[in-house]
Amino acid sequence: MRHFETDPPPNEHRVVGQAVAHDSALLHVSGRAHYVDDRVEPANCLHAYPVLSTIAAGTLVSIDASQALALAGVVRLITAADIPGRHDIGPVFPGDPLLVETEIRYHGQPILLVIAQTYDLARRAAQLVKLEYQTAVPLLDIHQALQDQSFVRPPHRIARGDVDAALSLAAHRLSGQLHLGGQEHFYLEGQVALAIPQDDGAIHLHCSTQHPTEVQHLTAQVLAKPMHAVTVEMRRMGGGFGGKETQAAQWAVLAALAATLTGRAVKIRLARSDDFRITGKRHPFFNTYEVGFDAEGRVSAADIVVNGHCGHSPDLSDAIVDRAMFHADNAYFYDQVRIVGNRCLSNTASNTAFRGFGGPQGMIVAEALMDDIARALGKDPLAVRRANLYQPGRQTTPYGQQVTQFVVAEMIDRLAHDAQYDTRRAAITAFNRNSPIIKRGLALTPVKFGISFTAQHLNQAGALVHVYNDGSIHLNHGGTEMGQGLNTKVAQIVAQVFGVSLDRVAISATRTDKVPNTSPTAASAGTDLNGMAALDAATKIKDRLLDFVAERYHAARDDIEFGADRVTYPGGELSFAELANLAYLQRISLSANGFYATPKIHYDRELGTGRPFFYFSHGVALSEVEIDILTGESSVTQVDLLHDVGHSINPALDIGQIEGGFIQGMGWLTNEELRWNDQGALLSAGPATYKVPAIGDTPTRFSVQLYESANPEVTVFRSKAVGEPPFMLANSVWCALRDALASLTDYRYAPPLDPPATPEKILQAVTVARHWQKQNQQERRDD
């Protein structure tokens, strides 16, 4: 047992659980919140811009920068030859050269850097650099990669029982496949970094990153300096979503390199179209499945292959494809099962973390096969989903982890009841019979998402808390703020410990010289990890204050209470500020660091078994859609969500994550379409052609409820992680679209619908469905 209280506090003096506003809310709305590009530039600041490859594969033969260097105000070039230390900034495995040496691996790959006096000049000069290549044939097709076994990492396999035998014994069998599109993060603030050289050769970096420690580590290695010579400071990001977990590093390292070589501050900021071209995205996947099932639709055998389109290098693809494999079951028990994951190479940007981290690409397979089974048996898909849920006795995941909290069934029942699934199902079926052009669809899908980094060592965090002698509190932790409200939640936790109002706690920028060796803010684990570390630090100081009060006022520790900015003991009280000052005068340390490491987790990759996740987060979603079978246009008209966040630390922020995650997932599955040409150049390189959801796409009827239940595991105040799981609630939208399409076949067949379900894809699916129906009617007549 840990020495501090993790259960929610009693109702009086609660700071935790309150729907307080984001700590930067006033700065956000007034335009005063500073992002990296908003900082006042240091004197003589230079600007760097990369020159990008215009081929997807080949070798660099020569660089002619004479025109660029002839422009007044262009300072110098930086090429791979200028790097003093390590050239490869691959975060886990090598494969990501900072700048091209000779081999070019994707269209848009940074080759060299132009340094100039202004941003515009650097960009224009970069355009004038002439590159000569020897081109090779790029690998762009995932089927080709599978055939060639061109993988960035070896395949991995999880299995239980004899799938082939179970398939052949099954009463019913079906198979299917899915091509899933990628997704551009489209953080509103693009990649940016500012490096300021220090007098002792050290570098101070301001950058927009989810992983300050990794930026520090890579910068030190590239510059051949110790880590203590690099400080990374990160106040806030204008959105991250995974896109700044590993791929913010390159810009920071390049800025640091340029600052070191010029002795001046250097800033890099990517123009949006280049940000689209250079940086990796959510992995497109090609997945196949074959299932055996009984007359009730219960799966007896599932044979699933998930193939991630990784791009040119491993980046985080090993873990991302693992997570896709870990979620190919979603909330369903597969008796005999085999799940294989391949990490396919392609000559494109290296795909990377994106909210859900492979989970969405795995989980959607489970939903696709539930729908397919339902259509094959002529059942309502919700009945098939219910029949397959994990339940006592059928509770072991394909990777051997026990599912021990069975709330999904109850959540489904509650949502189906509250949002009137059965009534609406009947109404929709009737509507579709009489509506020749517009068809409606409905789907209720669950989410069960594993919480923890699957790389075990990342499940740790640190925090630093100071109480000043005026009673104000300074808080620092290893997590980063990207809009999710992490800083607000952690401040609530610290304020709760000291029984003070939230405005007494100030959070400053995340800095590698305050809390070292931190993990990325990712895997939804920001509050779980950093909140616990801050709780540890604050509790240490509180322990000292308790001892002090107990001794000074001859009180028992248990009789001393902190609350409402005061400390009371039998026979007296004093303000928290008075206590802080008294403790200071008595030479009691009012500063502490805290630490946390997630317990219980382990995974044996050789065997494919273990407990990779500390616990699961759950949610259920009911979506209703309309499609136009003449144009393929669609609309999400009503959404009801019920989501499990354990005991919420801040319901407003949690609901914000749920709504935002859902809409982002809806974008992935509907309109966000990445297109490349046959030479590997990204065509949809900007928001003019890549369409993320706009305000009218938010469903007119959109209800979100929190499912209140304590996390059975010991987490901070029994809360649950919320960042990623709601993204996958949007699977209900895709399933509802297929439901609407299935109305064209009397619900006996749902045509394939490869996400994103753009109007064009929906119209194609309409054609397929009508063709199936025609053939089927023909066959029935022939019978």
Partner: protein, 482 residues
């Protein structure tokens, strides 16, 4: 020299590049970093600012993208940025503008980067309405502001809450009143390094400048031209802005005919044209975003001759004409003849587009206007289809079409028209006519849609027309922006 009011500060400037955008000027030269760069292409709204100008009804503010606005075009107007909404000094909730307070109260900001843009769009909405104008107006006003964090629900709730208290005056009102009371330089321009942007205020000056500078580029709203600078980094030519030419800024109706000045922003003639052609309303509400509609003009759209510009197909179907002016005189060209090839027109080097005339139509004219795009809001059409027709005892006696996205220029479908004319109005007739689309057009495949999709959808739209004609059948998905 140019002059304008920035928040509460009167600004006089010269010696700046004519292609300098308001966004870059604010961020790099004025140190006002509240206005954010999200895309620099007018697609995200993070750089939204308000432009205040004096018209017959007084001071009116409209939202625009600072990345697509040349600094010189602010001449004589009030540029209001997020910094202008609150006094400097310590921030407290009660010192914020009501729009800002609402966004705090409803948790409308997460990462905060898009937030100043939303604040300015919402402020524009707040200033232009006394009461809550309804969800539809709010959605159209905010359709050009992208948020990647919230999913928009809290922002909509913030907007809904805005009109409950009595309206609050802008902090900048006294400064604005003083600014608009003072006279301005009658011949403003902005020059640097041998390049100039001219801002003629009357037609005679415009035509003289045009004749003297045939190589200069004309700029109206700038929503397309600015992309050449911010995206393609093209060098800056001399520019002549038509945006402030008085004769190009009026919109008149006479006996059902409509004349729209070439420099009137879309948002300013929307109400007038909707009154005449309510069936085409969707074309205007879905054209770009509110920020684009507040800047873009018919003159600019036709002058650019984009194959995907949305107004041209409607103008084709309505047999509109383009009035071109030069020092040599005026001529009127049918829109149907105006486009000669991809981004080419009949406009001569010394000419400017002065106005677009839409002739009166008989009350019997029926009109349908269908826009198909990947996203409903702020998206370029994959296909735009307009059909104007007249029935006499169920016989099609007149028909005109206009299509966008189907060819290198906006174009009528002549064989389709032939197949319809004189026939009975029936599903069979419409389907036969739709087949002719394949002879009229061989559309391109691009990032927005494939050739096959464009053709199939365009054909299917004739079926939509049939069902729509039946009256009681739903032919559109229910979407908040439709």
């Amino acid at each position: 020299m140019i002059e304008f009011l920035l928040n509460q500060e009167r600004v006089q400037l010269d010696g700046l590049a004519p292609n300098l955008s308001v966004l870059d000027w604010l961020r790099t030269q004025k140190g006002l970093a509240g206005t954010k760069e999200g895309c620099a292409s007018g697609d995200c709204g993070a750089c939204t600012v308000l432009l205040g100008s004096m018209d017959a009804d007084g001071l009116r503010y409209r939202s625009v993208n600072a990345c697509l606005l040349l600094l010189a075009q602010v001449q004589g107007q009030h540029l209001l940025t997020v910094e202008g909404l609150t006094e400097s000094g310590d921030l407290t909730l009660d010192r914020l503008h009501p729009v800002q307070q609402a966004m705090v109260a409803y948790h409308g900001a997460q990462c905060g980067f898009c937030t100043p843009g939303f604040i300015m769009s919402l402020t524009g909405l707040y200033l232009n309405h006394r009461d809550y104008p309804g969800d539809s107006v709010v959605i159209h006003a905010l359709g050009g502001n992208l948020c990647r964090c919230t999913g928009y629900r809290p922002i909509l709730d913030a907007a809904r809450s805005l009109f409950q208290a009595p309206p609050v005056e802008l902090l900048t009102s006294p400064a604005a009143a003083a600014f608009f009371a003072a006279p301005l330089d009658p011949q403003p321009s902005l020059s640097a390094a041998g390049r100039t942007i001219y801002l003629p205020q009357d037609l005679a000056s415009l035509l003289r400048l045009r004749a003297a500078n045939p190589a200069a580029r004309l700029v109206a709203g700038g929503t397309d031209l600015c992309l050449e600078f911010s995206q393609q980094l093209k060098p800056c030519p001399d520019l002549i802005s038509v945006a402030q030419v008085a004769e190009l800024k009026s919109c008149t109706t006479l006996d059902g005919a409509l004349s729209i000045g070439a420099a009137v922003p879309y948002s300013e003639f929307q109400t007038t044209i909707n009154a005449l052609y309510p069936q085409a309303a969707e074309l205007w509400t879905r054209l770009g975003s509110e920020q684009i509609r507040n800047a873009g003009t018919l003159g600019g759209s036709l002058g650019n001759a984009s194959p995907i510009g949305d107004p041209a197909p409607l103008l084709l179907a309505l047999s509109a004409t383009v009035l071109c002016s030069s020092v040599e005189g005026e001529r009127e060209l049918p829109v149907a003849d105006f486009f000669t090839a991809y981004r080419q027109t009949l406009l001569r080097p010394n000419e400017v587009i002065r106005a677009v005339h839409i002739p009166a139509h008989s009350a019997a004219t029926k009109l349908v206007c269908y826009k198909i795009s990947k996203r409903i809001e702020d998206d370029i059409s994959a296909v735009l289809c307009v059909i104007a027709y007249e029935l006499d005892d169920n016989q099609i006696v007149r028909v005109r079409t206009g299509f966008g996205g189907m060819a290198a220029t906006p174009a009528p479908a002549r064989r389709v028209e032939q197949a319809l004319l004189g026939q009975d109005f029936s599903l069979a007739t419409l389907q036969r006519a739709a087949e002719q689309l394949a002879t009229d057009f061989q559309p391109l495949s691009d990032v927005r849609a494939s050739s096959a999709y464009r053709l199939t959808v365009a054909q299917n739209l004739f079926e939509r027309l049939w069902y729509q004609h039946q009256g009681d059948i739903e032919v559109r998905v229910a979407h908040a922006a439709l």
